[in-house]
C-alpha cells in the first residue's frame, strides 16, 4: 500500500515538472447563437493544440493564438464552427444549430465515452456543480430529487448512511445499493452497520463508504439505471451503477481553484416533538398516598414529603400546578435545590433546546493544468463539521491527485490517487434503547428542565439524571433507565476513524488508429476503527460483543477492506464503411476483495473508570467476533456498438463471470444485454420544431453470485462456560447446490428536444424481474436452523421515469430553466421459497415487522391492526378503546412516486435555483409516537376533547377521548376512552386493543430541498479568472408532511428494511455561504 502511494506520488511529481505555458497574441470576442443570443460555455480550442477556453455567460471569450492557427468553437446542439486567426484581435462568432449532430457525450460502462444519442438505455448525467454547490456530508444525499428512477433516503443520523435504490428493491435479502465507480474504479459502498443496529436495537450508524467521495472533486455523475447499461459491470452492476468522473487537468494554462464554504444549521422544529406542559411525572394515579407522588421524608423532619416519582419515565402524573414538591434536584447534594421543595411546573427548556447550532466548513484548493504531453490535477479538501448534538464532530481530509502523461504518440499512462482520512466523534446512538432521542421522544418527564441537566453535569461531572432512584430511597447517582443526557454525550461517546486510499494506474497503447489496448490496476482499501465507550456510573444497556446489559465498558471494531481490480481491455473505434461505425470494448477483469471484521469488547464493566482499553475489563475479555470474507471474480466481457449513419445504433454486451463464492460446479455464468436506439428525427424532415428525437429499447439478463462463505457449513465458537469449551451450529444452514441468480430487464424509452431545444424530455418504461434469488430464507427452527441458503423467489419492478427540461424564458439578460424528474416504481413480490407466503425482513420493537409478502410490494409493514366492521368502520370495545387484531398489513414502505423540480433563474451574473423534492405515498410506522403518546408527551395528549374538557379528566367528569368508530353491535361509539393514565386511549397496545396501526403514517413529503443564490463576479481583479459567491440553503422548509413531529425520511439507516421510525433525529436546516475563486 505504502509503496503504491509512493509510486503514484513520484509519477505525479513528474507531471508537475512537465507543465509549460504558451505565448501568443490575445484574441477576444463574443459567441452567439443564430438568434444572436450570447452563448456561454462554448468550448474554444486552438486546433492541433491543447490550448482552449470557454465563453462566459455573456458569450465573451479571450484566447491566445497565433495568426494562421484555427480556432474551433464547439457547443452541444450547435454545429462546430472553425475560424482561422487573422490580423484582427476581435472575433464575433455566430453558431448554427445542428440537431443532427447533437454530440452530448456521457461516460458509460467501463469508462467508455459515448455520444448520448447512441445509447439504447436510460443514462442520466448531472454535473459536479449539482453536488458541490450545496454541500452535505454524504454526496449521495445531494442526488435526491435530481435523478429520475432513483429513491434516496437521507436519514438524520450524524455522518449516517443513505439509502439509495435505483428502480426499486430487486433482491429479497441481498444488497440493493448501486455500485459506485469512480474513474473506472469500483468503490466499496458497504453499509456495515451491525444487524442489531439495523434491527432497531442499540447501535450506531456508521454511514456508507460512498460518503468518502469528495463533492469538490466530482466533474460529473452518470447514473446507469438498468441492466442493459450496467451488464458490462457484471453482477455488481445489477442494482445500477453510479459512474463518477472526477475533475481532470486540461491542456492549457495552469489553474488554481479555491472553494470555501461555511454552513450553519439548526433543527427544523417541525421534525421534533411538541411537548404538553400540563402534567408531570408518572404513569397514572397509583403512587403513594396522593396517587401521584412518593411519600418519603426528604428533609428529615419526620414527616413524609411529596416526592416526584423520579424513577418513572412518563408524563401521566400530577397537574403541573406550581405546588411545592421534591424533584430530582432535591436529592443532589451539589444542587442549590438540595433538600428543597420547588414549584411543580413544566421544564423551562425542553429537549428541543438540547440540540445545538451546527457548523460546517468545507475548504478546498485544487491546482490543475497540462500541456500536449501531460495533464494533472491536485486537490485538497478539508471538511469539518460539528453536529446538532453536543460533542459531535466529523473531520475529513481528502487529497486527490490525477494525471496523465503521453509517453509517446501512441502510449499514454495515467494515475489517479485519493487519500481520505476521516475522524468522527460522537455519532448518535440509533434505535430503541440507549438512544437519546428515544429518551426525549418516548420516555420523558415534561417537568424536567433539560438545561438544569446540563448545569448539574457541568458543575459536577457526575451522572445526576432526572431518572434516578432517589425518590424510592436509592441514590441520586443511581439512574434507572436514562442517564443524564449530557453525561451520555460527553462520557458515553463513540469515535471512529477511517483511512482510505483508492486509485488506479493505467496505460493505454494505440495499436492502430482504431484500436487501443488499456491495462489498469485499481485499488480501494481502507482501515476503520470504531470505538464505543460506556463510562462507569451509567445505566445498563446492551453493550459489547456479548450484547449483555452493561453499566460500563469499551468496545472496538476493526474493519479492514481491500479490493483490487486488474483490467485489460481493447477499445475499438472505427468505421466499417462510410455509413457504419463500430465502437466497442473487449476485456478482462479480475477482482479480488478481502473484507475483515474484528469486534472485541470488555465484559462485566471497566476496572479503572475512564480507561477505555480491552485490558481494563472486569471479566475476562469475551472471545472476539472475527470474520474474513474473501472473494475473487473473473470476468470476460465484450461490448460492441454498431452505428448506421448517425441514425440507428445497436449495442451488444456479453459477459462471462466466474465467482469463487459459488459452488465449484456452478461457479460460472454468462449474461448479456442488447439495446438499440433510433434517431427518428433524422428521418422526419419538415419538422423544424423537432430538434431531436430518439426511440430506444433494451433487454438484458444479468447473473449474480452471493457473499463469500455461504457454501460450506461451519460451526460457531461460543464463549467458554468456565473450563468448558463450547461450539454450536450457526443459525444459517449453508447450501452447496446453489446456482447464480438472474435479473431480466426490459426497458424502452423516448427522448426528444423541441422548439430550438427549449423543451426536452426523456421518458423510460422498464420491467425488471429478479429470479432464482440467492438468499438465506427463514425456515421453521424445528429444522434446527432459522435460515437456509437457497435459490428461490422472484421480485418484479416496473415503472416509469420521466425527465423534463423546459426553458420558458431565454432573453439576453434573463433565462429561466425548469428541470423535472419524476419516477414511479411498482414493486411486487412474485414468489418466495416453496409455499412460503411471507418473509420477515426485520422484526422491531412495538410488535412491528417489515416483510416481503407474496403478492404484495416488498417492504410491507405488519403488526396489530384495527378491527373493521362490514362498513369499514373501526370497531371500539366496551371501554371506548379501538379493538385490534394480530398480524395485519398496516402499510407499504414503498412510495407511490418520487419527483424533483429544479427551477433556475439567471439574471446577468446572478443565478437563483431551488429544488423541490417530493415523495408521494409510502407508509412509515413510528415507535416514537407509539411510546411517546403512551407516556403522555405530545401536546395533544393533554388537550381538550370534543366536549371542550381536558382529555385527562376522568371519563365520569367529562374527560377522555371519544374514538370515532362503532361498537361490536354496530352502534356508533359513545363511550369515551380514559386518557388519564398510560394504559388508556394512547396505551402502546396489546393483542386486544390499541393496535399498532394507530401510529402508522403516510410518509409523503414536499420539501424545499435546496436553494442557491449565486453571483458570478463580472469585473475581476487582475490575476483572477473567475469568482463566484453563493448563498446556499438545504432542507429549509418541509412544505408538507403527514408524519407528526418527525421527518418521514429519518429511519434507522440504509438497508432493505425501511418504513420504521424509532428515536428519530430532527432534520437540520442549513444555510451556507460559498466562495469559489479561480486563478
Amino acid at each position: 500500500m505504502k509503496t503504491t502511494l509512493n509510486g503514484i506520488l513520484t509519477l505525479l511529481l513528474v507531471f508537475v515538472v512537465q507543465i509549460s505555458f504558451a505565448q501568443e497574441k490575445t484574441i477576444s470576442g463574443t459567441v452567439s447563437d443564430q438568434n444572436n443570443i450570447p452563448l456561454g460555455g462554448v468550448n474554444i480550442l486552438v486546433q492541433g493544440t491543447s490550448n482552449g477556453t470557454q465563453s462566459d455567460f455573456d458569450g465573451n471569450f479571450t484566447i491566445n493564438a497565433s495568426v494562421g492557427q484555427t480556432l474551433v468553437f464547439t457547443y452541444i446542439g450547435l454545429k462546430q464552427t472553425t475560424v482561422v486567426v487573422g490580423s484582427s484581435n476581435v472575433m464575433n462568432i455566430q453558431m448554427q444549430e445542428d440537431a443532427q449532430a447533437l454530440e452530448e457525450v456521457v461516460v458509460t460502462g467501463m469508462g467508455v465515452s459515448r455520444e448520448k444519442k447512441s445509447l439504447g438505455y436510460a443514462a442520466q448525467e448531472i454535473s459536479g456543480d449539482a453536488v458541490s454547490t450545496v454541500k452535505v456530508d454524504n454526496v449521495v444525499n445531494s442526488l435526491s430529487g435530481k435523478i429520475s428512477g432513483v429513491q434516496i433516503k437521507a436519514n438524520n443520523n450524524f455522518g449516517g448512511s443513505s439509502n439509495f435504490i435505483i428502480r426499486g428493491i430487486s433482491s429479497l435479502t441481498g444488497n440493493n445499493q448501486p455500485l459506485f465507480v469512480i474513474d473506472g474504479v469500483p468503490i466499496a459502498n458497504t453499509i456495515n452497520n451491525t444487524s442489531a443496529q439495523r434491527g432497531g436495537s442499540t447501535g450506531y450508524d456508521y454511514g456508507n463508504a460512498a460518503s468518502d467521495i469528495n463533492p469538490d472533486d466530482v466533474s460529473s455523475i452518470n447514473v446507469l439505471k438498468g441492466a442493459a447499461a450496467s451488464a458490462i459491470y457484471g453482477s455488481r452492476g445489477a442494482n445500477g451503477v453510479v459512474i463518477i468522473t472526477t475533475k481532470k487537468g486540461k491542456s492549457g494554462d495552469a489553474k488554481i481553484s479555491i472553494s470555501s464554504n461555511v454552513t450553519v444549521g439548526s433543527i427544523d422544529k417541525n421534525t421534533f416533538l411538541e411537548y404538553q406542559d400540563k402534567y408531570g411525572a408518572g404513569y397514572g394515579p397509583y403512587y403513594g398516598s396522593t396517587g401521584y407522588f412518593e411519600d418519603l421524608d426528604v428533609n428529615g423532619d419526620g414527616i413524609d414529603d411529596l416526592v416526584v416519582p423520579t424513577y418513572d419515565d412518563g408524563s401521566y402524573g400530577a397537574p403541573l400546578d406550581g405546588s411545592l414538591v421534591y424533584q430530582w434536584d432535591a436529592f443532589v447534594p451539589e444542587h442549590p435545590n438540595y433538600l428543597k421543595a420547588t414549584p411543580y411546573v413544566a421544564g423551562k427548556t425542553t429537549p428541543v433546546d438540547f440540540f445545538e447550532t451546527t457548523l460546517q466548513y468545507n475548504n478546498s484548493v485544487s491546482v490543475s493544468g497540462g500541456n500536449d504531453k501531460s495533464t494533472f490535477r491536485l486537490g485538497y479538501t478539508n471538511f469539518d463539521t460539528k453536529g446538532m448534538l453536543p460533542n459531535s464532530m466529523l473531520n475529513k481530509n481528502t487529497i486527490n491527485l490525477n494525471g496523465t502523461l503521453n509517453v509517446s504518440d501512441r502510449f499514454t499512462v495515467g494515475a489517479n490517487a485519493n487519500t481520505i482520512i476521516q475522524r468522527t466523534t460522537g455519532r448518535n446512538s440509533t434505535g430503541y434503547s440507549d438512544n437519546l432521542t428515544t429518551q426525549m421522544r418516548q420516555w420523558w418527564q415534561v417537568n424536567v428542565d433539560i438545561d438544569s441537566q446540563r448545569e448539574i453535569f457541568e458543575q459536577t461531572g457526575q451522572n445526576y439524571s432526572w431518572n434516578h432512584l432517589g425518590s424510592v430511597g436509592g441514590s441520586a447517582l443511581e439512574p434507572l433507565y436514562w442517564d443524564n443526557p449530557y453525561w451520555t454525550r460527553y462520557k458515553n461517546y463513540q469515535t471512529d476513524k477511517r483511512n482510505r486510499f483508492y486509485g488506479n494506474i493505467f496505460a493505454t497503447y494505440n495499436l492502430t488508429s482504431w484500436l487501443d489496448l488499456t491495462t489498469k490496476v485499481a485499488i480501494d482499501t481502507y482501515k476503520e476503527l470504531r470505538e464505543e465507550r460506556r463510562a462507569v456510573g451509567s445505566t445498563s444497556a446492551g453493550f459489547g460483543v456479548l450484547r449483555d446489559s452493561e453499566g460500563s465498558g469499551y468496545d472496538r471494531t476493526d474493519v479492514d477492506f481491500t479490493e483490487l481490480n486488474y483490467d485489460l481491455m481493447l477499445n475499438v473505434n472505427t468505421y466499417i464503411t462510410d455509413d457504419i461505425s463500430l465502437s466497442g470494448v473487449a476485456g478482462l477483469n479480475i477482482r479480488r476483495s478481502d473484507y475483515g471484521y474484528y469486534h472485541q469488547s470488555t465484559a462485566g464493566g471497566l476496572k479503572v473508570p475512564g480507561l477505555y482499553a480491552l485490558s481494563n475489563s472486569v471479566n475476562g475479555v469475551p472471545l472476539p467476533q472475527e470474520s474474513l470474507s474473501r472473494k475473487q471474480v473473473n470476468g470476460l466481457y465484450a461490448q460492441a456498438s454498431i452505428g448506421y449513419k448517425n441514425l440507428l445504433y445497436l449495442d451488444l454486451t456479453d459477459r462471462y463471470d466466474t465467482s469463487s463464492a459459488l459452488p465449484t460446479d456452478n461457479n460460472s455464468y454468462n449474461y448479456f444485454a442488447v439495446s438499440s436506439s433510433l434517431i427518428f428525427s433524422s428521418l422526419i424532415k419538415n419538422t423544424p420544431w423537432l430538434n431531436f428525437g430518439k426511440l430506444r429499447a433494451g433487454y438484458a439478463e444479468v447473473g449474480n453470485d452471493l457473499p463469500a462463505n455461504n457454501i460450506y457449513d461451519t460451526f460457531s465458537v461460543v464463549d467458554n462456560f468456565g473450563s468448558s469449551s463450547l461450539f454450536s451450529f450457526p443459525s444459517t444452514k449453508q447450501n452447496s447446490e446453489l446456482v447464480p441468480e438472474r435479473t431480466k430487464e426490459l426497458e424502452m424509452g423516448l427522448e426528444a428536444r423541441m422548439f430550438n431545444n427549449r423543451v426536452g424530455f426523456d421518458f423510460t418504461y422498464y420491467k425488471k424481474n429478479t429470479e432464482n434469488q440467492l438468499m438465506p430464507v427463514s425456515t421453521t427452527t424445528a429444522t434446527g436452523f432459522s435460515r437456509r441458503w437457497v435459490n428461490a423467489g422472484e421480485i418484479e419492478n416496473k415503472g416509469f421515469e420521466l425527465g423534463l427540461n423546459v426553458n420558458p424564458i431565454k432573453l439576453k439578460d434573463f433565462s429561466w430553466d425548469i428541470n423535472v424528474n419524476w419516477s414511479k416504481n411498482e414493486n411486487m413480490v412474485v414468489s418466495l421459497y416453496g409455499d412460503t407466503e411471507n418473509i420477515v425482513l426485520n422484526s422491531y420493537q412495538g410488535g412491528i415487522s417489515i416483510n416481503a409478502t407474496k403478492g404484495q410490494p416488498y417492504g410491507t409493514i405488519r403488526g396489530t391492526g384495527f378491527v373493521f366492521d362490514n362498513n369499514g368502520n373501526k370497531v371500539v370495545d366496551g371501554n371506548g378503546y379501538y379493538k385490534s387484531q394480530a398480524d395485519q398489513i398496516l402499510g407499504d414502505s414503498n412510495p407511490d412516486w418520487n419527483g424533483g423540480i429544479t427551477n433556475k433563474f439567471q439574471y446577468k451574473d446572478l443565478t437563483l435555483s431551488f429544488l423541490i423534492d417530493i415523495q408521494k405515498g409510502g407508509d412509515v410506522y413510528s415507535l416514537d409516537m407509539h411510546y411517546g403518546q403512551g407516556t403522555g408527551l405530545p401536546n395533544y395528549t393533554a388537550g381538550l376533547n370534543e366536549l371542550g374538557n381536558p382529555v385527562r379528566d376522568a371519563v365520569a367528569d367529562g374527560g377522555g377521548i371519544l374514538n370515532v368508530g362503532v361498537t361490536e353491535d354496530g352502534a356508533v361509539n359513545t363511550v369515551r376512552a380514559r386518557a388519564d393514565y398510560y394504559g388508556g386511549a394512547y396505551y402502546w397496545g396489546n393483542a386486544s386493543r390499541n393496535p399498532g396501526a394507530m401510529t402508522v403514517y403516510d410518509a409523503s413529503y414536499v420539501k424545499l430541498r435546496e436553494l442557491a443564490l449565486a453571483y458570478n463576479l463580472k469585473t475581476l481583479p487582475k490575476g483572477i479568472k473567475a469568482a463566484s459567491l453563493s448563498l446556499v440553503g438545504r432542507n429549509l422548509w418541509i412544505i408538507s408532511k403527514d408524519v407528526p413531529f418527525a421527518d418521514p425520511e429519518s429511519g434507522l439507516g440504509a438497508g432493505n428494511s425501511q418504513g420504521y421510525l424509532s428515536g428519530s433525529y430532527p432534520t437540520l436546516k442549513t444555510v451556507g455561504l460559498s466562495l469559489n475563486l479561480e486563478f
Binding site: V633, Y712, S723, R788
Partner: protein
C-alpha cells in the same frame, strides 16, 4: 499488430481459468469440532432457557410486575417464538450434531455419552410437548425438509419414554463426558442415571390421569433409582461472572431494572402458613412480606422485592430436585401406585428437602410441618390440594414445574388478574407466530388436532 492480438489472447486464456476456490473456505470458523463442545453448549442453552423463562414465574403467580404488567396479563408476544427456537435450534440441533460426531469419533465412553445426549433430547422434547402440545418430532431437525409435520403429543410421549428407557439402560459404569465439559454432574454417570430416572418418574406422573397403567408401570420402574438428596439435584453450576451466570441475575441485577416484585398470591399463601422460606424467597417490605397485585401495575417501591438469594449470579440452576422427586413419589403413593413409602413421608421429604435446599434447617422444616395447616394428615383439602400447594411453594425457583403443578393439580388457588377470570390462566403457550408463515399447513393441522391454538387449550395429559 498481430503479435498484440496473440499476446492479448494468451493473456485471456490464462486469466479465464479457474478462480481460487479456497477463498470461499471460512478462515475464522471451524469446520469440525469435538462432540463434547456441542453437548455442553446444548446443555447450557437448555438450562438457560428453563431457568430464564420468567413468564412462568408470573403464570405461577410467584411474582407480579411493576410498571409494565403485560406478561402477567398473559400477553405472550415474543415468548412463543423464543422458546421454540431456543429448544429446537439452540438445544436439539447441537445435541443431534454431538450425537453424529460421537458416532464418528467412536470413543470408549461413547455409549454413556450417547445415553446422556438421549436423555437431554427426551427432556427437551418433553418440554416442547408440555409447552405447546403437538410439535414437530419425527420430521424435525432436518434442514432439507422445510415443512416438518407436527406429531401427536401423546405419541411423542410414548416414544420419548421408550427412548428414555434405552438411555437409562445404556448408562453404565465408567465416564460420561469429561468433568470439564459436564457442568452438571462433572462426568458422574451415577448421577446422570438418577436424573434420567427422575425425569422418567416426572413424565410418567404427567400421564397419571390419562394413562394410569403406563404411568404406574414407568413410575414404579423409575422410583428405585431417583434423586434422593439435594446434593444430587439436576442443576447446572453457574459462574459468578457474565456471560455464564444464572439468567435470573441477568434479569434482576445486570439489567439494572426493577420489573418484578413478589406476587400477593404467593406471599399471602406463605404468610398464612408461616413459611420459613419467605426469608429466602423475598425481601421484607416495611417489616412484612407484601405482594403486589398479580396482573396489575405495581409501584416497585410498595412491595416485597425478590430476594438476594435469587440475585446471586452463581445460583445453581436446578431443573429436577430431590424435593420435586419426593412430591412426585407422594403423588404416586396417593394415587395408589406401587412405590415404596407413604404419601405422607414423601410429602414431608419434599417440604424438608426444599427448605434445606434454600438454607433452612431440619428443625425449621419440623416446626413448619408440625403446623396443622401444613402437616399432610391435617392440612385442608384432598391430596391434590395438599401436594399441589406444597409442591407449588417448593417449585418457586423451578418455574416451569411451578406453573405445571397448577396445570396438573388445578391447585394452588391462584388469583384472577384484574379484569380476567381464573379460566384465563394459560394452560399452554401459543404456537410461534412465525410458524404460521413458515410451516402453515402443518401448523394448521396441528391446531385442529389439539383443539385450537388458544392459551387455555388443555394439553393431552391435562384431563382435569
Amino acid at each position: 499488430m498481430k503479435k498484440y492480438i496473440v499476446l492479448f489472447s494468451a493473456f485471456f486464456a490464462l486469466a479465464s481459468c479457474e478462480v481460487d476456490e479456497s477463498l470461499n473456505i471460512d478462515q475464522k470458523s471451524p469446520t469440525s469440532v469435538p462432540a463434547s463442545g456441542l453437548f455442553t453448549n446444548a446443555a447450557r442453552n437448555f438450562f438457560d432457557q428453563m431457568n430464564g423463562a420468567h413468564h412462568y414465574r408470573l403464570y405461577a403467580q410467584y411474582w407480579a410486575q411493576t410498571t409494565y404488567p403485560e406478561t402477567s396479563q398473559y400477553i405472550m408476544t415474543g415468548l412463543q417464538d423464543n422458546i421454540w427456537s431456543s429448544l429446537y435450534s439452540g438445544v436439539l440441533q447441537d445435541l443431534k450434531g454431538a450425537r453424529e460426531i460421537i458416532a464418528i469419533e467412536g470413543a470408549a465412553n461413547s455409549k454413556n455419552q450417547l445415553a446422556i445426549i438421549e436423555m437431554l433430547e427426551v427432556y427437551a422434547f418433553s418440554v416442547l410437548v408440555d409447552t405447546y402440545g403437538n410439535v414437530p418430532y419425527s420430521e424435525a431437525l432436518d434442514p432439507l425438509n422445510p415443512s416438518p409435520k407436527y406429531d401427536d403429543a401423546a405419541e411423542i410421549y410414548t416414544d420419548i419414554l421408550s427412548r428414555l428407557d434405552g438411555a437409562i439402560s445404556n448408562m453404565g459404569a465408567g465416564a460420561g463426558f469429561e468433568a470439564s465439559q459436564d457442568p452438571i454432574y462433572g462426568g458422574d454417570m451415577n448421577l446422570w442415571k438418577k436424573a434420567a430416572n427422575s425425569l422418567k418418574l416426572r413424565l410418567a406422573m404427567r400421564l397419571a390421569d390419562i394413562n394410569p397403567a403406563v404411568a404406574q408401570q414407568k413410575a414404579t420402574e423409575a422410583a428405585t433409582g431417583v434423586i434422593t438428596s439435594n446434593a444430587e439435584n439436576f442443576g447446572i453450576n453457574y459462574l459468578s461472572s457474565a456471560p455464564n451466570t444464572n439468567p435470573l441475575w441477568v434479569t434482576l441485577v445486570q439489567s439494572g431494572r426493577n420489573d418484578y416484585v413478589a406476587a400477593n398470591t404467593m406471599v399471602d399463601a406463605m404468610n398464612s402458613l408461616n413459611d420459613p422460606r419467605l426469608d429466602y424467597y423475598f425481601e421484607l417490605k416495611d417489616g412484612a412480606y407484601k405482594g403486589g397485585i398479580y396482573g396489575d401495575a405495581n409501584a416497585a417501591s410498595g412491595f416485597s422485592a425478590v430476594s438476594d438469594e435469587l440475585k446471586n449470579p452463581a445460583l445453581k440452576g436446578n431443573l429436577i430436585t430431590a424435593s420435586e422427586v419426593s412430591f412426585l413419589l407422594a403423588e404416586a403413593a396417593a394415587r395408589g401406585f406401587n412405590v415404596t413409602g407413604s404419601a405422607e413421608t414423601h410429602y414431608s421429604n419434599g417440604v424438608t428437602t426444599s427448605i434445606e435446599n434454600w438454607g433452612g434447617t431440619e428443625s425449621d422444616a419440623t416446626t413448619y410441618l408440625a403446623q396443622s395447616s401444613v402437616a399432610y394428615n391435617t392440612a385442608a383439602g384432598d391430596w391434590k390440594t395438599k401436594i399441589g400447594t406444597q409442591k407449588w411453594i417448593a417449585m418457586y425457583n423451578n418455574n416451569f414445574e411451578g406453573w405445571t403443578t397448577y396445570r396438573l393439580f388445578d391447585y394452588p388457588v391462584l388469583n384472577a388478574a384484574p379484569g380476567m377470570s381464573i379460566q384465563d390462566i394459560p394452560t399452554r403457550i401459543l404456537y410461534p407466530i412465525s410458524e404460521a408463515t413458515l410451516n402453515g399447513p402443518a401448523l394448521n393441522s396441528a391446531i385442529s388436532a389439539i383443539g385450537g391454538n388458544n392459551k387455555t387449550t388443555k394439553l393431552f395429559w391435562d384431563k382435569f
